[in-house]
């Protein structure tokens, strides 16, 4: 379904709420707490874009909840003037599941990092995606443990030297998007702190998606891992090293928009647009195509410093599909039982199937 239709549907569904909305400004979502990230940290941009996106959600402030785990990014809820919980390491998806299942009326956001969600909380992360609980997960990936002062994380590339890997990491990293697709995530997307406009758009897309939305955000940790994503985020190299995905559009990148990706069967190849190949020969992005989303998630090279990738790193929505949401089904079962399993008579329940009387 094209994005416009999705948005129209969403607006129709939430019309009453939207009409009654107090017109919020982004500033109203900023809490009275001093923000305590290091100066220059990528978290600031993300916070700003989330606050910018909030007035467009169609939800009243009282109905929005941010839940985080532990780590630099997990301080996030303190800075939002909504309901929030800064919980324990890795468990935000489990806490959010309990909240959403019992309060489907709320807009629930999970704020987490690569250590929080892909190491200590990896189990809850994949279970949330497989169950397809209708919440939005923002994964701040900085490929490092910041709060504990610089150990390698489950997304750090092999060879990286940090405090706990003085001889270089020998630990094969996760590919978060491939992992999410493997867990049957129904919405899998990527954005970066250095492109705020696209980031805000992705935050809104996450919200509009009905189901578990997994948005990975490349976030620069200026103190411990500065420049980890520079190849993709720097304005100079970005055109050739990154590619922005748009639904229904051909896969084009390059400084002059002169390169494209075409599919030979299931084999992607880079082509120069010109005499031999035109736009019509290229791979057309389809968010609903799980197989192609997998191929895109595999554009995941870690070239040595100073070198380029063969296939550009994709940003945007790799995959978005509609499938049953766990929270809705839980509620439906309870409602069904209420409607069809007879009166909820506590006396009858206490009495049980067989009784006897002592005189």
């Amino acid at each position: 379904m094209p994005i416009e239709t999705l948005i129209d549907e969403f607006i129709a569904e939430h019309k009453a709420d939207l009409d009654n909305l107090p017109g919020y400004s982004a500033k109203e979502f900023s809490s009275d707490q001093d923000v305590r990230w290091c100066p220059g940290c990528g978290d600031y941009t993300i916070l700003k874009q989330v606050q910018n996106a909030m007035p467009d959600l169609g939800y009243a402030k009282k109905d929005i909840v941010f839940i985080s785990g532990i780590g630099c990014s997990s301080r996030f809820p303190y800075y939002m003037d909504t309901f929030g919980m800064h919980s324990i390491h890795g468990r935000a998806p489990a806490i959010a599941t309990g909240l959403k299942v019992s309060r489907p009326d709320l807009s629930v956001w999970i704020i987490t990092g690569d250590g929080d969600s892909l190491s200590i909380g990896a189990n809850h992360f994949v279970q949330l995606l497989r169950r397809n609980v209708n919440v939005n997960l923002l994964l701040f990936n900085n490929e490092i443990y910041g709060l504990t002062k610089g150990q390698y994380s489950p997304t750090t590339p092999v060879g990286a030297k940090f405090k706990s890997t003085p001889y270089g990491s020998i630990d094969h990293p996760f590919n978060p998007l491939a992992l999410s697709l493997g867990a049957d995530g129904s919405f899998v997307a990527r954005a970066m702190d250095r492109d705020p406009k696209h980031l805000k758009e992705m935050i809104l897309r996450s919200h509009q998606h009905q189901g578990a939305s997994m948005l990975e955000i490349y976030q620069n940790c200026i103190v411990f891992n500065d420049g980890a994503f520079e190849l993709f985020t720097d304005k100079k190299s970005r055109p050739t090293e990154a590619i922005y995905l748009e639904q229904g559009q051909p896969l084009i990148f390059g400084k002059e928009k002169d390169r494209g990706i075409r599919l030979d069967g299931l084999q992607p190849e880079i082509v120069e647009l010109g005499d031999d190949f035109s736009k019509d020969d290229l791979w057309i992005h389809d968010e609903k195509d799980h197989t192609k989303a997998h191929l895109l998630s595999r554009f995941f090279e870690h070239p040595p410093k100073g070198q380029s990738v063969t296939f550009p790193r994709p940003f945007g929505v790799l995959y978005a599909a509609d499938r049953p949401r766990y929270d809705e089904d839980v509620v439906n079962q309870v409602e069904y039982a209420k409607a069809n399993h007879g009166e909820a008579d506590l006396d009858a329940l206490l009495e049980g199937p067989e009784t006897w009387v002592v005189k």
Binding site: Q33, S87, R91, T97, G98, N123, V334, L350, E351, W356
Partner: protein, 619 residues
């Protein structure tokens, strides 16, 4: 030979067979019929941790013991009067539990060469034939053959025929103890409603067993146990886990709040998950989480959103939940944590009982992390204490640990259940909407009991943040200030301690206030302690019994009460845990009696230990 009619005050029967022989069902059906006749009773199911341990072997034996009587029955009995054994392994595993002179009813087809060798009897030895059972009354019945005779015309498979064996034995015992078959027949007809031929086969075999008792004259007497002198009222039979489920549902109703139950399967707590899952129409949401941590975390999330968050497990799972329980202490949200204790440490003995998680409940989290601990004392008492756990948690915004154990969770007893409107209302204090946008909302402002209000999302003007970091009182803002941490630590402890003003005072269960000796127990040992106290008092000793159901905080009068006795004896199914709490809280001299064998205290064994303890008081 003529059959005598005999009246007995109490009888203990033990059904034992292979895990596949249906002994638990046989025991439960006998129990229900017996309950309906108005006997008092207690049951002790014992089964292997493996679902199907190798057939015919001693580790594969599954047993169900039941004591019933016309007097008060508080334990499932130390030794049994009748031992039913479906095979030779069952005899080997259980003979030591049979009274001298007791009756063995043996299924002879379970004593063939193959079964004897599986049970590891030496070659050529058959205990039914070698005279080793002369101290007992041995009744041999070829159940397999008799079952075949009863239903061979139905053309069932060998397997289906074999599966009805337990009904033959049940019918035989119904005849022997003068019990009607109706309740069991209607159970079978419902259970096999869509397989009428299986229902018919089971009913036919049940009746065949009954009539075999009548006509074969294998028993010298037929026994009647009269109705017990229970308090007048309407009764049902209930297990501890089922009573826990009902207590939770009732508390949800009485507090008018939805209940969210997040759990992960674990023996012996899973029946609570199964039970609650059936009561969705009461507005109960159950969530089978991916692990113990997600189970408790989802409950905390639900609780933040305004549901009664409840999670359940057994010791190993509680260990995993520890960090999250600490979060609930910090957030000051309601949370009920059910621990159906089993023998530990580590995986321990999953199907065996123990009460060794009290200190874990008390201290098993990082930091100063006070919570409330309550412990039911019997299967039926699980209802009241589960209700109390929810009440305290909601009214005091504090996690409550509920310590049941495998023995009372699976055991059953008659329950004089209450009427819904006799149950007290639970008063929840919700934060209301706020129009004032100038002043700051204070999520941690407290009332005179030190309790904050429940401020749930969706309420206008009270948007606020909570977290596991130390916070400032009232504002809830993060604070690392040294004096503030001291203050908050004190506030959390005082809030827990003040719960003592809202729980019943400690009563003396039996005996009197003050005197020579008091037995102090908690949890599932109630029946054994009560019975022993009763017997010692009959022998003329000055012994009283106090059973503590509220452990953290203790009832306000407990200290004074205990100081009124010359000697305090604390029997526990652990290595001495309540005794340590009493000593450290009250500087009390107390004598421990401890046992960790995965089984409850036997009455005679406990009585002997108490007598020994009286002779050698420990200071």
């Amino acid at each position: 030979m003529s059959i005598k009619d005999q009246i007995q005050e109490e009888v203990t029967i033990r059904f034992a067979g292979d895990s596949g022989d249906g002994m638990q069902l046989t025991g439960s059906l006998f129990t229900n019929t017996t309950a309906l006749l108005g006997n008092d009773l207690r049951t002790l199911p014992e089964f292997p941790a493996e679902i199907r341990a190798p057939a015919g072997t001693v580790p594969g034996v599954s047993s169900f013991q039941l004591k019933f009587g016309s007097n008060e029955v508080l334990t499932p009995g130390d030794e049994c009067d009748v031992l039913v054994v479906m095979n030779s392994a069952a005899l080997k595993a259980n003979l030591s539990l049979l009274k001298k002179g007791g009756i063995v009813i043996a299924n002879t087809s379970g004593f063939d060469k193959k079964n004897l060798s599986l049970a590891k009897y030496p070659a050529g030895v058959n205990p039914l034939e070698d005279g080793s059972l002369t101290e007992y009354e041995l009744i041999e019945v070829d159940v397999t053959k008799l079952v075949k005779e009863a239903i061979s015309d139905m053309g069932l498979s060998y397997k289906d025929e074999e599966r009805t064996k337990n009904m033959f034995v049940l019918g035989l015992l119904y005849w022997m103890y003068n019990r009607p078959m109706e309740s069991t027949i209607s159970f079978l007809e419902t259970k096999f409603g869509n397989k009428p031929e299986i229902a018919e086969a089971n009913v036919r075999v049940l009746k065949a067993g009954y009539f075999y008792g009548e006509t074969a004259e294998i028993f010298s007497s037929r026994i009647t146990v009269k109705q017990a002198d229970l308090k007048p009222g309407t009764y049902r039979n209930i297990t501890g886990n089922d009573a826990t489920v009902l207590g939770l549902v009732a508390a949800a109703r009485k507090s008018n709040m939805p209940l969210f139950f997040g759990s992960y399967p674990i023996t012996p707590a899973s029946d609570i998950l199964h039970g609650l899952s059936m009561h969705k129409k009461f507005g109960i949401t159950t969530f089978q989480a991916e692990d113990e941590i997600a189970a408790v975390s989802s409950s905390i999330g639900a609780s933040f959103g305004g549901s009664i968050g409840v999670t359940s497990s057994s010791g190993p799972g509680i260990a995993l939940k520890g960090e999250a329980i600490g979060l609930a202490v910090m957030l000051e949200l309601p949370l009920v944590v059910i621990n159906v204790q089993r023998a530990g440490p580590s995986t321990g003995m999953p199907t065996k009982t123990e009460q060794a998680d009290l200190l874990q409940a008390m201290y098993g989290r990082n930091g100063e992390s006070p919570l409330v601990i309550v412990a039911p004392s019997s299967p039926a008492d699980c209802f009241e204490m589960a209700f109390e756990a929810v009440r305290i948690s909601l009214e005091h915004m504090i996690p409550v640990m509920y310590l049941s154990d495998g023995y009372i969770a699976n055991g059953s007893e008659p329950w004089n259940f209450p009427k819904a409107d006799e149950l007290k209302d639970i008063k929840v204090r919700l934060e209301g909407p706020r129009k004032d946008t100038e002043s700051q909302f204070l999520p941690y402002i407290r009332d005179e009991r030190g309790v904050r209000r429940w401020a749930i999302p969706g309420t206008e003007g009270i948007e606020h943040r909570v977290g596991g970091l130390e916070k400032e009182d009232e504002t809830g803002n993060v604070s690392y200030d040294p004096d503030n941490h001291q203050k908050m630590t004190n506030l959390r402890k005082e809030k827990r301690d003040r719960v003592a003003d809202f729980i019943p005072l400690q009563e003396v269960d039996q005996g009197k206030e003050g005197g020579e000796i008091v037995l102090v127990g908690w949890g599932g040992t109630y029946g054994s302690l009560r019975t022993v106290t009763h017997q010692l008092r009959k022998e003329g000793m000055d012994v009283s019994h106090i059973h503590v159901k509220y452990i953290s905080p203790f009832p306000k009068n407990l200290k004074e009460l205990l100081e009124g006795y010359d000697q305090v004896i604390v029997p526990e199914i652990n290595d001495g845990q309540l005794v340590r709490l009493l000593r450290s809280e009250y500087m009390l001299k107390a004598t421990p009696i401890n046992k960790v064998k995965g089984r409850p205290f036997g009455v005679q064994e406990l009585k002997a230990e108490v007598k020994k303890a009286i002779k050698t008081p420990v200071s």
